[in-house]
Symmetry: C2
Subunit: 308 residues, 2 copies
């Protein structure tokens, strides 16, 4: 299949480069890194074996790109308004758009922009970062789950998963809602708390008080999903997330990096939207609401410090 | 009456010096500031009129002090274990010990140390700080409420209040439990949040998200006191606290100062004890529990940074 990658960063860059390495035709949209990658190619430093793409298909505008069978969107969700202009040149009648993004509600909002588009969620379980121009640093994990949101062609989803697997990526189809909320179980506590306390995941789990707090925040999500009739987000999964994170090397989640580098944080989709859904279901999540407020405060202060 | 002041800092120093200025016999226990005050006296810079005590009665040990009718304890509650040795020389059969301290549970614990002592809570509504040796900076407010905990002699409480008023201090008798918990309505949100977000009171109230959060934390206390059958802590009081704080100059509560200067924070009495009582009453306070956890984390990190 023909692939397009919008947002060639830590996530889009990694999965796109893996697909290209396996022989797929992958078209990358680049922004600041365009000149660098044209001159030097794209480097993936990876715990699973580093590799280099000498001459990837790269573009500065989607209008120059071909319509594709699969579009992998690796943009920060704070930039999703850009999709209005970015997406149309890449779509044909049966294009699958995979939103490999954080949070709850991105598919709903993109569907509103493109009522006929076929959408799926890409749930990446990966520790990676774009450390410098044209260079993705993949530290650990790397699997991706695909949750069908509005694609009527199940075979297309299956083909995507096959081709991801051929690219040595662990990929599985998952139930959309369950998958998004299971991801939130990790994302909501760790993204915000590493910003609020200016620390990494391991410090939060080593301190007895914050370890208990992280578990308690995760349990707020378990209770909220229960009241929304969403299956598969239970206490066992919480324990599994804690154990998995214990085993990780000290990690700064994407929101911590965004905050440190003065980029906008994905507060809307990682916090505000799921918090609103939980409230509407009659099961508010008070500690995660507090965390949202702390993040809003920190973001405003940062803006003021930058003189904006 | 004869007064002793243990902990001649922002609080004990202020009330003790006002009483001394009004002609009462006040004996001050000093620690680090002893030599300075012996040489230079005690200075109170005050919004209500600054003044100086040239030769206050000062001591380095309570064993050198006379037994007194009233002992004002202005220690940080983190030092209350010291009372075991500090208090006995100051007590006669009818001494009133007034704990002008933050939090919930201090009287209970001091009573356990001294089962026969007559105890009262001193609820100070004051913005003040000890800025340098022998110098108290009183910024605004200054009233004190006295809540009888275990003093069988109501007249003694009355006499204390009269003499405080003669010293130009607004003083009133109050119901002990209500008073302690009303104070917590201000103390629990603002002390911790100014530490967690490294800010002052005004910034928390100016930001829409944290203003809502502060109110929400205060409402947790309202609900908890209701389930403990404690009267007088209601939504109107919450609004009053917000309005009062809006009118204050930007303020760093004592816990923020303690944290910044590397002193232990009063987490036990300001957070852990009231949180425990609320849980036991079946009405936990999740956002304040989260704040406690954040403070425990920050305290441990500070200790580690200091190499302790």
């Amino acid at each position: 299949m023909k692939y397009a990658v919008i947002g060639t960063g830590a996530i889009g860059g990694f999965y796109g480069a893996r697909l290209a390495r396996s022989g797929q035709e992958v078209h990358f949209l680049l922004h600041r890194d365009y000149d660098y990658v044209r001159a030097h190619g794209l480097q993936v430093d990876s715990c699973d074996g580093s590799f280099h793409l000498d001459h990837p298909h790269i573009y500065q505008e989607t209008s120059a790109m071909p319509a594709c069978d699969v579009v992998l969107v690796g943009l920060k969700s704070t930039n999703n308004h850009l999709l209005t202009n970015l997406l149309p040149p890449l779509l044909h009648r049966g294009t699958l758009v995979v939103l490999i993004q954080n949070g709850i509600g991105v598919e709903e909002d993109v569907q509103r922009m493109f009522p006929d588009a076929w959408l799926a969620a890409g749930l990446a379980f990966i520790c990676s970062a774009k450390t410098e121009p044209g260079r993705v640093n993949h530290q650990c994990y790397g699997s991706i789950n695909i949750g069908n949101y509005s694609c009527p062609d199940e075979e297309l989803i299956g083909r995507l998963i096959d081709e991801l697997r051929q690219a040595d990526i662990t990929a599985n189809p998952v139930e959309y809602k369950t998958a998004r909320w299971r991801k939130a179980v990790w994302n909501m506590p760790f993204n915000g708390m590493t910003v609020a306390l200016h620390c990494q995941t391991d410090e939060l789990l080593r301190n007895e008080a914050t370890r208990r707090l992280i578990r308690s925040q995760m349990m707020e999500i378990v209770r909220a999903t229960r009241s929304m009739q969403i299956d598969g987000v239970d206490e066992d999964f919480v324990e599994q997330m804690l154990t998995t994170t214990d085993a990780m090397t000290p990690y700064s989640p994407s929101m911590r990096l965004d905050y440190d580098f003065g980029r906008p944080m994905e507060i809307d989709y990682i916090y505000s939207r799921p918090l609103q859904l939980a409230r509407e279901a009659g099961c508010p999540m008070p500690q995660l609401e507090m965390l949202e407020a702390e993040l809003r405060f920190l973001e405003q202060r940062k803006r003021e410090q930058k003189g904006l």
